[in-house]
Amino acid sequence: MQTSKHKVGLIFFPAFDWAITPDHPEREERLLYTRDQIMEEGLLDVAGIEEYRPEIAEDSHINRIHVCVPDASGVITESHRIAAGGTMVAADLVLTGKVDRAFALLRPPGHHAMRIVHGSRGFCLVNNEAIMVEHIRHTYGPDIRIAIVDTDAHHADGTQDIFYNDPGVLHISLHQDGRTLYPGTGFVEERGGPASYGMTVNVPLPPGTGDDGILYVLENLVLPILEDYEPDIVINAAGQDNHYTDPLTNMNFTAGGYARLTELLAPDIVVLEGGYSIEGALPYINAGILLALAGLDYSAVKEPDRSARVTPQSDRVTQNIRGLVDTLRKMWNTRKNIDPDRVFGPGPVYERERRIYYDTDGISEQQFERIARCESCSGWRLVVSGAVHDIGKVSRIAAIIIPWHACRTCRSAAEAEFENACKEPQLDHVYLQDTERDRFLTTST
């Protein structure tokens, strides 16, 4: 019998009875052929690959990282709870040492879900990786150093938003250039908030990037950064839509490339994100990832139409990527030399305003955010958010967020702000999110 080199826990949950809508890419059929391939390959019989059942995430897990409007059970389905809960199981398996690595091969995905959730965007409602990260910090220690490497073809704008000012999480997103693809963000200059400047690394890749390009980024940028940062846990948000057959993107990655990426990155936890070439890509990519995680030979994993469809990456793309990697390496190496006042202004607070569009649910959100610039902690935050739904519903909320390791000044300022905001008649809901103390308060005025 075959034995894997690394013990791998697989949490496979294809949600065969759940879809956004019957014809939506995020539908029952999405992981059907992946299941067929994994079962037929007999991968679950390999000694050292063990399948585990997901658990169900509770409101308390979700409220640590999200502010759902009006509340968690008001926006999410059981399917989302299972996907988030399955991701938490993956973390538990690794952190308790039951397995060396875990693969949460489940849906629906989550990396476009931001901290404030009015509805679904980019097929995502709650952020599976973020819920898992808070679960890890609460269960296994708040100072665990975490790195998330998101290899979905779309910019992980939700994950970026949630950890934007969090010095405990390094977030690297590789994606097709935002000028050419949803959600239109993820440029190199988006580098994190005042408390964690440089901890957000965006790698916008030109359309047409193939195995050579992505693996070049991995070897010359991602791995050196990880070596420098020395995370305790590496999470790969493994979207599979960089594949040459994906209907929504313009990339040129192959199943073999994904497997090699997995082998090089050696992530502790892999979480499926997007990827909608359900027949031509997913069965092969997932088999490849699972083999690579287990330390088995993946060289024979090959899409049936690969030789006919994949063309070598063009020189122009190669040059573009080399230049990008040079720039980003310099930015990483010099991130601590930059005077934050020059980036965020000299004042006691940093403020920004954004419009966020929820493509899946048709919601337009206008967000104002204020981050306290604190010497002793990463600073409390106020988010005021107004959302206009396409059905005409309007909601306006405020969320006060107390970060991990908040200083006493920030903590009391945040609590005072919460009390004030509760009196504000124009706000439908006011929330206080105190992740460190696992406290989530909400008041409807």
Binding site: F12, F13, F16, L32, E41, Y284, L296, D297, K302
Partner: protein
């Protein structure tokens, strides 16, 4: 109808004669090693002698469970067999380390059964010559995804029969199972091919026996799933007869159960091990993918059973002796009696012959005998041995015996709980199954085996269950063999986008005439019809008793348009046992 069930086990051959749900006679003879027919004949004759009303006008139906295939596999006595495999892209078969030679062929299918690459005839013939030059006398042909399209396997079989092999019969993977799992399909096919000749010899012997003894009409063989198959069909699928002995015992318990439609747990407590099996609404739970034998993982449908190294003859160890704090003891209780503060562990090894039977080991059996719970062997010998052991720890024989019985019960209760936790943690793939898992927890406990009378009542009490200790446990296996019914299963896969329907077990690949109109109801009808047809081909009288056991249907959407539907329906001849009244008349 009179049915004789015979289970040829490693040590004993048991036989039972049943008619109209009653046990009319049972018999036991020692198994003559390597003489299956002798053992069968002896048991059969002894049984008929024990049956004092020999007015057998109708022919007897014989249900036979033997260790033939199981032993051939475990002892490595199968014929030298080569597997010709078309793995296509995916896992590297060279890393599989399967325990048999694989000759890799090109040619591959994808997950929907579409041909990706054709087979190469010259390569096939070369592989056959190489395999034969390497000493192989039996062949199996297996393709990845052949359960979705058996085309390549059939083509290769035809080619070999026409052009190459001296071997008459070739095992094809898709005929053995419609389930996915290429490595298991290879192992199943390999084992099947390797024991086919032994099975043919055996079938021949049984035919001769039938000619000699005219009282026997039809002969059925027991399978790992607790069902039966016709003697003739075992020539094509001999691998299904593996592990029929344990299945026979479970079927015996099912047949004799006082709780036929309940959730039950069956404990078969033997000398060395206890086997735990689980019934949900009367049906025994199956292994998730198939039987495992001699390190081979197969697709052979098999009853789930968990074996614990805990039995009447198990070894008893002291794992911890707590130092009793005498001061505290004195102050709390005011006297000097010692608490019995040793901890025991029973099993997993067998100790040897219990002291009660003249051996030099103390065992759970000795504890039961010493306490008067079991009336076997010598109570004084058991008590003496226990007393000697107990003395070291400053306690009495009775206290030690009680501690042994309690530990035995505690360990079994833990094992039962673990079994249910395992079954409940088996992965499921729908939201509804996560949210509303079926209730599989037992309502009743059924015990068989010699020590069952001692242990079942307290275990049932500890679990809060009703219980039944089967009276005729000695011949439960033979009763189970006699009570078994035929089983057969087919898998229908229909893909309306491709317009193709496949039933691998029946060698069928055909066109769907009007794909647009093909819905779940038609898929079900087709599956029922194929199961009936397949059942009849296997000679099953009960081919009208068909049920659908699994079904899947998915909309296939390409580019925001529905292009078809895909269906997987698994239908079977409803399994089950003839109910047997447990009180002998």
């Amino acid at each position: 109808m009179v049915i004789v069930g015979i289970d040829v086990g490693g040590t004993n051959t048991d036989a039972a004669l049943i008619s109209e749900g009653r046990i009319l006679a049972t018999a036991k003879v020692p198994t003559c090693h390597d003489q299956l027919l002798e053992s069968t004949t002896l048991a059969f004759e002894k049984l008929l002698n024990a049956y004092d009303r020999p007015d057998l006008s109708d022919p007897i139906e014989l249900h036979l469970s033997t260790t033939l295939s199981t032993n051939a596999i475990i002892e490595g006595q199968g014929d030298p067999t080569a597997v010709l495999a078309a793995p296509g892209p995916g896992m590297n078969v060279a890393e599989l380390n399967p325990g048999f030679p694989i000759y890799v062929l090109s040619g591959s299918m994808d997950h929907r059964g579409r041909e990706v690459a054709p087979i190469n005839q010259e390569e096939v013939l070369d592989a056959v010559s190489q395999a034969e030059a390497g000493g192989a006398t039996a062949l199996a042909v297996v393709g990845k995804f052949s359960h979705r399209n058996p085309g390549h396997e059939l083509e290769i079989e035809k080619l070999i029969l026409k052009r190459a092999s001296k071997t008459g019969r070739i095992t094809l993977g898709h005929r053995l199972s419609g389930r996915p799992n290429f490595p298991r399909r290879m192992a199943t096919s390999y084992l099947n091919a390797s024991i086919a000749r032994h099975q043919a010899v055996f079938v021949d012997m049984i035919r001769k026996f039938m000619v000699r003894d005219r009282s026997v009409g039809r002969v059925f063989l027991l399978k790992a799933d607790g069902g039966t198959m016709q003697l003739e069909d075992s020539l094509i699928r001999p691998v299904e007869t593996i592990l029929s002995g344990p299945a026979a015992s479970i079927m015996g318990a099912e047949a004799l159960s006082a709780y036929p439609d309940s959730n039950t747990v069956i404990l078969d407590i033997g000398g060395t091990t206890t086997d735990i099996s689980v019934q949900i609404k009367g049906d025994t739970v199956f292994q998730r993918q198939g039987a495992e034998i001699a390190g081979y993982k197969t697709l052979v449908p098999a009853l789930f059973s968990r074996s614990i190294g805990l039995g009447g003859d198990s070894e008893i160890k002291v794992v911890r002796r707590l130092e009793s704090n005498k001061e505290t003891d004195a102050s709390l209780s005011g006297n000097n009696t010692l608490d019995l503060d040793i901890e025991l562990e029973i099993g997993p090894r067998r100790a040897g012959t219990p002291a009660a039977f003249g051996g030099d080991c103390i065992t759970p059996t000795d504890a039961a005998v010493a306490l008067g719970l079991a009336k076997v062997g010598s109570a004084s010998q058991a008590t003496r041995a226990l007393a000697d052991f107990a003395e070291i720890y400053g306690i009495g024989a009775k206290e030690l015996a009680t501690k042994i019985i309690d530990t035995f019960i505690k360990q079994l209760v833990v094992a039962i709980e673990e079994t249910y936790e395992y079954l409940e943690s088996r992965p499921v793939y729908t939201v509804s199954e996560i949210l509303t898992p079926p209730d599989i927890r037992p309502q009743a406990l059924i015990g068989l085996g010699a020590p069952a009378g001692v242990f079942i009542p307290p275990i049932a009490e500890s679990l809060g269950l009703k219980y039944q200790v089967l009276p005729c446990y000695e011949s439960a296996n033979a009763i189970g063999a006699a009570a078994s019914r035929p089983t057969a299963q087919i898998t229908l896969h229909a893909d309306t986008a491709l317009g193709v329907m496949t039933v691998p077990e029946a060698d069928y690949v055909g066109k769907i005439e009007r794909p647009v109109l093909f819905g779940i109801n038609q898929a079900r009808r087709e599956a029922m019809a194929w199961a009936t047809k397949f059942g009849k081909k296997l000679g099953l009288d009960e081919a009208d008793n068909i049920q659908i056991v699994e079904e899947e249907s998915f909309n296939m959407v390409r580019g925001f348009h529905t292009v078809g539907r895909t269906f997987m329906i698994r239908a079977q001849v409803r399994p089950g046992v003839r109910r047997i009244c447990s009180s002998p008349d």
